[in-house]
Amino acid sequence: MIRSLAASLGSGAAYALFGVCIVLVYRLTGTLNFAITAVGAVGAFTMLVLVETGTAIVAAAAVAVAMGAAIGALMGTLFATWFRDSERLTRSTVTIAVLLGLLAAGFRVFGDNPRVARPFFGGRFEEIAGVRVTYDTAMAVLVALAVGTAASLVMHRTRVGIRLRAMAEDPVTAEVDGVPVGGLTVAVWGVSGAIAALGAILVGPSRPAAFAPLVFLLLPGLAAALAGRFSRVWTTLGTGFVIAFLEAHSGRFSDISRYRGTIPFLFILGLLLWQRRAESWDDAR
């Protein structure tokens, strides 16, 4: 079990980060962003291409995160101007169009061959309780925890966070009260794009993937965000790691290991049924 835990940490950090991105954008702008992992994948593949052409890995990672932030900010600008007064459903549907657009563009630019990312720390590892944990994995976990801590601190301890929460609750009144709703919306989308790129970069060394499968890591991210009810950062983070652990652990059982890709679906289904249990039991009575 400890081996499964160690094996799942890299993926868990990525799921957690994707989940936090979904939570931040949904909670603060009311949009369920289905394109978040596509934004992250564009960033991660940009980094891979740059590294292949000889760019230093840290510089390539910085460019990738900036690329994620720029695409996120562009989406934020789109939503802050064209879809400012649209319904949540409309805005969320638009992100599906963006997802498909990025998926097609990424497929065309980066191809569909799986690529292996070079590790940041050259594959070095520490052995903890008999389990090998690479420095990259440790960094992924630390980044996920740092992002969770930063998100919580900004939201609750800073004036920007207070204004963001006011904007989330009533954007019109917030703007009348002087909150720069348009600028903050763009900033939230930009930050979430940067975090998504970070998540996609961090999952690279532990999980070789082509562009499309990386985009479909949206599902565990959505499952984590759902567990956090699209509002709780720490629950979302924790659930990201739990889903990754369940995936890794199921790989140890030969009968079910081939179905481990269904775990996020089962998790979402189980969670929805659990959340509806009171209504169902009431109806049954």
Binding site: R159, I162, R163, T173, A174, D177, G182
Partner: protein, 239 residues
């Protein structure tokens, strides 16, 4: 209607259309420094729409709005706020998940003036706004708007559903803001509140101004106001 001082707020021929129906029809008014103008009228007379067009919550379909001489008819809500426009919206527009202190910090870094205005809010500074009484919520919304030091204050139905003692506290704060130099445009359903706080009272009927007179004249002889208002109410009832 006009003031000896140059107007802080000048609204000219304002038209607001909602759902294809004109709800404000060519309304013109001016509010000067330290002046309080009250707009009264029955439900559906276009009072709230007019205020919302001034603050940019809804778009004006015609006419113009100027603040300190600058045309803000097409300006964003944020720009209007930065130019000194404050709007206390209808329905106790607190941010219900935020605490009292957080609500105040949305508008300004220094929240002490709000607690000086309404000391009872200090004891509840950590309480979520949704747990406040109706009167406390209205105090919070008014305080949140006033600590941003607006030069022009729009207030929508400040007395709605509140006890007279609370209304007196709120109107006291409004008068104080006006004494400090703010131009105040107040929408009210109750003529008694309007006459108490305003220098000028206008009656809006079906989106049009049917009467505009100094409040001291109307206090001396309220019959004209009653006629205009009651006529409007009868109109509305007969519609």
């Amino acid at each position: 209607m006009s003031s000896a001082k140059p107007p802080v707020l000048a609204v000219r021929d304002l038209v607001v259309v909602r759902g294809g129906v004109p709800v404000v029809r060519r309304v013109t008014l001016e509010v000067g420094t330290s002046e309080v103008m009250a707009i009264v009228g029955p439900n559906g007379s276009g009072k709230t729409s007019m205020l919302e067009a001034v603050s940019g919550v809804v778009k004006a379909s015609g006419g113009s709005v100027a603040l300190h001489g600058s045309d803000i008819t097409r300006a964003s809500r944020r720009r209007r706020s930065r130019l000194g426009l404050g709007h206390v919206r209808q329905g106790r527009a607190v941010f219900s998940d935020l605490s009292v202190e957080e609500n105040l910090r949305v508008a300004a870094r220094d929240t002490d003036p709000a607690y000086e205005m309404f000391p009872e809010l200090r004891a509840r500074s950590g309480t979520p706004a949704r747990e406040l009484s109706g009167g406390e919520q209205q105090m919070l919304v008014l305080a949140r708007t006033l600590i941003a030091r607006p030069s022009c204050l729009l207030i929508d139905e400040i007395s709605l559903g509140l006890a007279p003692t609370v209304v007196r506290r709120l109107t006291g704060a409004v008068k104080e803001a006006a004494r400090a130099g703010a131009a105040v445009l107040l929408v009210e359903q109750y003529t008694s509140v309007a006459l108490d706080v305003a220098d000028v009272v206008s009656v809006l009927v079906r989106g049009e101004t049917v009467l505009s007179e100094r409040a001291d004249v109307l206090r001396e002889d309220p019959r004209e106001l009653q006629r205009a208002y009651m006529g409007a109410a009868a109109d509305a009832a007969g519609k």
